[in-house]
């Protein structure tokens, strides 16, 4: 696919079209690389954690320790510390969320795979939708539909006149801004990160194949920067998985709290 970029009369920068990968088989339109990667992530994560948790030993093996470290990070540092009492109910969901997003993000820099599925907005949308339904469901179950909606729309302890301003903001926050920011933040980070890597790697490739000598000399810099950015991307990928899970936990904690 790289060859396309310098077939014309100059460097064609990578665009959003680079994210629309062709179907792997000509006649199965839906089976694209991100779809395959998402399924791969499910298999990889499942196998890793099932193997590491299988023995459930008091003194863990290296594998169990590795799996347990990730699990206890989500369980203790995210679920327990944020949600507090009764957090165990949400641990499976948050754990799945974190490992799923993290694995798919990291696929963006794994050699040969090298594509973050979360840069296809459909996947973050689905995850945000799950989180959206869960935290509203939890709130409604906890406080009853009427009281829950009332507390969102009319925050207690606020002068009546302020509601003119506050109510639209709060309603929009809870039903629009939260799910949208949750999904778009993840999507945009992965999208931009991948685009950035494309620019430097493909730019270096273009420069290397250029007829001018000066361009060839500068090509390694472009590649080097691409590698540096890969490390940076790794950080962003972990961070985004963490943020997505943390915010979901925070929303759940907010819905569970007695006072809004």
């Amino acid at each position: 696919m790289n060859n396309l970029h310098f077939s014309g009369e100059g460097f064609v920068p990578p665009s959003t079209n680079d994210f629309n990968l062709p179907p792997i088989f000509e006649n199965i339109a839906w089976l694209t690389k991100p779809v395959l990667l998402v399924f791969l992530s499910v298999i990889v994560v499942s196998i890793f954690f099932v193997l590491s948790a299988r023995k459930a030993a008091v003194v863990p093996s290296k594998l169990q320790f590795a799996g347990e470290s990730i699990y206890s990070f989500v369980r203790n540092d995210l679920a327990r510390d944020v949600i507090g009492h009764d957090f165990m109910r949400f641990v499976p969901y948050l754990f799945t969320l974190f490992t799923f997003v993290l694995t798919n993000n990291i696929f963006g820099i794994v050699p040969l795979l090298q594509f973050p599925a979360m840069s296809h907005v459909g996947f973050p949308y689905v995850l945000a939708l799950f989180s959206f339904f869960i935290f509203h469901y939890v709130g409604i179950r906890k406080q009853g539909l009427g009281k829950y909606l009332k507390e969102i729309a009319f925050m207690p302890g606020v002068p009546k006149a302020v509601y003119i301003l506050l109510t639209p903001i709060e309603v929009a926050t809870f039903f629009l801004v939260r799910p949208l920011t949750l999904s778009l933040r993840l999507f945009a980070n992965m999208f931009a990160g991948h685009l950035l890597l494309l620019v430097f790697i493909m730019g270096g490739d273009y420069m290397l194949h250029d007829s001018h000598m000066i361009m060839k000399v500068f090509a390694p810099f472009s590649f080097t920067f691409g590698i540096v950015l890969t490390f940076f991307e790794f950080m962003v990928q972990c961070l985004q998985a963490y943020i997505f899970t943390l915010l979901t936990a925070l929303y759940i904690a907010g819905a569970l709290a007695d006072e809004h």
Partner: protein, 177 residues
Amino acid sequence: MRTFNFAAEAEKVNPLIPHTAELVVGAIAFTLLFLVLRKAVVPMFEKAYAARTEAIEGGIKKAEKAQLDAQRALTQYNEQLSSAQGEASRLREEARVQGAAILEDLRTKAQEEAARITAAAHASIEAERQQAITSLRNEVGALAVELASKIVGEALDDQARQSRIVDRFIEDLEKSK
């Protein structure tokens, strides 16, 4: 620039519009992963946690019990020790008292024995003295009679008379004393 029917309808695809297939696949894949992790991973890790907590708490409990046992044994030994010391001093005191009693007893017995021996000696001396006196008396009598007969010139052969005369003589001697 590219030829694939997937995005053929739009050269510039809006990246914010999701593909339906990806929504469905995302939901299915996530749900699958969720089910696997919830069924086979979370309970196992929780089990490991519980077992670990139990092992630690059990260890602590065991240590506490051991300490308690040791404490109890110590007080018991101390009690036994002090009672043994009491017993020993009591026995010593008893022995001392008994020793003194035995000593006293022995002394008394020795004194009694001594007294008895002394008495026996006295008695035997007295008896011998008596015997000596008797024999002396007889001899003195005989001598006196012999002397007297010699002096008187009168033969006093009759035994009975002799002894009567001697007795009277001695009685007179005693009276005169």
